[in-house]
Amino acid sequence: MLELLIPQASTFAGDIDFVIELIFWIVLFWWALTQGAFCWLMFRFRRKDGVKAEYIDGSETYPKKVITWAHMAVLVFDVVIVVYAVQVWHNVKITLPPAEQTVRVIGQQWAWTFVHPGPDGELDTADDIAMNDELHLQVNTLYHYKLESKDVLHSLSIPAFRLKQDAIPGRVITGWFETTKTGDYLFQCTEICGIGHALMPARVLIETPEQHAAWMAANSPVSVAAQAPQAPVAVALGAPVQE
């Protein structure tokens, strides 16, 4: 249902959609039942001349039974929802499957910086590729993200992944996602972060391995430096560089 509005591009997007749809049907059932009974009562017991209302003083067992039944039923449905919601939450937010790649995501007023590991596959090496407002990922790959903030709270949100996580200054929050579909997806900041909060749209670009390799070759500071004769030789040779 939900994928008609927003594509699913991570492995857990479908699980989260399942919880949402499960709740939707349960809630729709309760809403329709209650609202239906309500409408019937409003119509059936409208004032008629000469008809006095009933006196139900609370000692009758019938209304109590109805309410107890409804009470138990609500409880049962609550348990069902809790079980599924907690399961999905556990999978998305608590487990941390081993990463194939790690990216660093840094929020600041008012831009996102994405640090990609570069051809060597490791973060914090000379070939890291830092980009503003563009996160390049390879399809069918399990990523860890390391989420940081330089100033105030921001929030990483990728609707197509059904993923959201606040960034907190002073902390590095690690989480994961696994890409499933190539494409160009929306990346938002969903925590108010000052007057430029609306100016933090970014893009998530999920590429095939070939596209991704080509992008990496074109943007890696090492290879860029190798093609540029004016760059310092030490950098071109991959020697350690100061940030």
Binding site: R46, P63, A70, I81, L186, Q188
Partner: protein
């Protein structure tokens, strides 16, 4: 608690009720009814301001960059300040003063059958501090840098550091105003609880107390028990802003998440603080106009106590993705879904009360039923947000926004209109116009749904909150028609409020005279003249002989049986 304590307590200065001049009668009065009116009119004025803010930012959302008539260009700074203050005003300066302070002050002494609040001077001081807090808040729009725009939740570091918020004075004034407002309501709360418990009319047992009084008492207890941490937090935040402390500053070993806990430990019970009085009003109105006894008085009372206790254990559902330990989400999902049980039960009891009734569709009844219809939607959509797995997607989207407007609007607006139209004859001794009342009801109810149902859809489609212009987001920009539609519905709704204002002020002076008990209701306020004079019951304080909902008793010709009528 003693079963009944005589209601007169002549040891305070209003024991003698002589005529007074204008200033002492209307501005410095200690009479609970006058203070109630002060709260109500201040709340109404603030509602006009809060509504105007909503108009300004909704216009910007529908027509980005336009010169909004009455405001001008809505800059990003303006936009943030408008949404922040709209939220704060509607909750702290409209829902609280009207539902708790105005109705609490007006109804508690009348409904328990005494002549005034137990602490009348404290009551007056409470209003004066409240008024001061409102003025302080409004002042923030006129200082250098403008009003605070970091959301009504005031999360640091944005709220704590001027270099981030760019509103040095605005942020300080905002926090100060909120803290002052809390102080005012602490004083009010003491009064409501003490008066309701100690000044009940002779013969009025705890189970004879009308539901709305119980609800305001429980709400006051919730408020007083939850607000302490937030007042402390607000002072810590003021220190961080101005004195260089680092309670919430991550650069100097402070913790911004601490604020979120302090805020929501209060913030969630606060939902029930305003919800309960509204449901109390609804209980009075639906019993009166269906001529039915409340289906299960004690069940409601117990669900209210249960809700109250549980409401202290759910706060972190606002923080699932905020960076708290993710295992905590399990606990808070369970408690949050558990709270749906007592609330669902309360809804069932209210709806069940209609069974076997003789329903009169008066204006107050329409509002009360409208409350149940809208709040039901607000309640069921909350399940999506309380369930941790689903909240990952919905957090901070328009789904949340639509959800809480489906709870707060029924509470603060629909519940208030139910109460105002129901007790208007008592307050001013005249009837409101029924036709205008019904026009106003439909002119509010239909546009309300037209504004917020589409916003659920936008939330599901991934539209995130607090963005002044979506054109930079291609996936969201395509929904511009829906934004224009919601804004148009808002304009229609605001236009219909003129009908209410006309009806209210015209009826106050020109309406048909109301007798003491125009709705043929049972509770003690209807035993007093309309409007009640200073001292409330000129013929002596009433005695109570039965519960407040003895409608359509089979042994009686009349279909009502006032609490004060001897058997």
């Amino acid at each position: 608690m003693a079963e009944s304590i005589p209601a007169s307590h002549g040891d305070h200065e209003v024991g003698h009720h002589e005529e007074q001049g204008f200033v002492s009668k209307y501005l410095l009065s200690t009479d609970h009814k006058v203070i109630a009116m002060q709260y109500m009119f201040t709340g109404m004025a603030m509602a006009v301001i809060g509504g105007f803010f909503a108009y300004a930012f909704r216009m910007q959302l529908a027509f980005p960059g336009m010169d909004v008539p009455g405001w001008g260009l809505v800059t990003p700074n303006d936009y943030n300040a408008l949404v922040t203050n709209h939220g704060a005003i509607m909750i702290f300066w409209v829902a609280m003063p009207v539902l708790i302070a105005a109705f609490g002050n007006y109804l508690i002494p009348l409904m328990v059958g005494c002549d005034d609040m137990v602490f009348p001077r404290l009551n007056r001081l409470s209003y004066q501090i409240f008024l001061l807090s409102a003025i302080v808040l409004m002042a923030s729009f006129f200082v250098y840098g403008g009003a605070f725009g970091g959301a009504w939740t005031m999360y640091p570091p944005l709220s704590a550091k001027a270099e981030y918020s760019l509103t040095q004075l605005g942020s300080t004034i905002f926090v100060l105003a909120v803290a002052l407002e809390f102080v005012a309501f602490l004083m009010g709360g003491i009064n409501f609880i003490t008066t309701a418990m100690n000044s009940r009319a002779p013969g009025m047992k705890l189970y004879d107390v009308p539901m709305v009084v119980w609800m305001i008492v429980v709400a006051s207890i919730l408020f007083m028990a939850s607000v302490g941490p937030l007042i402390a937090g607000a002072i810590m935040l003021l220190f961080d802003q101005n004195l260089g402390t680092a309670f919430f500053d991550p650069d100097r070993a402070g913790d911004p998440i601490l604020w979120q806990h302090l805020f929501w430990f209060f913030g969630h019970p606060e939902v029930y603080v305003v919800l309960l009085p509204a449901t109390g009003i609804v209980a009075e109105v639906i019993t009166t106009f269906s001529r039915k006894k409340l289906l299960a008085y004690r069940t409601i009372l117990y669900t209210v106590f249960g809700t109250g206790v549980l409401s202290f254990t759910v706060w972190a559902h606002h923080q699932f993705v905020a960076g708290i330990d993710p295992r905590m989400a399990h606990v808070f999902t369970v408690t949050t879904l558990l709270i749906s049980v007592p609330i669902a039960e309360m809804m069932f009891v209210y709806i069940g009360t209609l069974y076997g009734g003789s329903i009169q569709y008066t204006t107050p009844m329409l509002w009360a039923l409208g409350f149940l219809v809208t709040f039901l939607i607000g309640g069921v959509t909350g399940i999506f947000l309380g369930a941790s797995g689903a909240d990952i997607y919905f957090h901070d989207t328009y789904f949340v926004l639509a959800h809480f407007h489906y709870t707060f609007f029924p509470i603060a607006i629909i519940g208030t209109f139910a109460g105002v139209t129901y007790w208007f004859p008592k307050m001013f001794g005249r009837m409101m116009n029924e036709t205008l009342g019904k026009i106003h009801f439909w002119g509010t109810f239909i546009p309300f749904n037209a504004i917020f149902l589409p916003l659920f859809y936008l939330g599901v489609a991934g539209q995130h909150r607090r963005i002044y212009d979506y054109s930079a987001f291609p996936e969201l920009a395509q929904y511009q028609d829906i934004r224009v539609f919601a804004t148009s519905a808002l304009l229609v709704m605001l236009a219909f409020q003129v009908v209410f204002l006309w009806n209210f002020f015209h009826s106050m002076f020109r309406g048909e005279k109301a007798g003491a008990n125009p709705w043929k209701a049972n509770s003690l306020e209807w035993a007093a003249p309309s409007p009640p004079p200073h001292g409330n019951f000129p013929d002596g304080l009433p005695e109570c002989h039965r519960g407040p909902y003895e409608f359509s008793h089979p042994d009686r010709e009349e279909d009502y049986w006032p609490q004060n009528q001897p058997a």
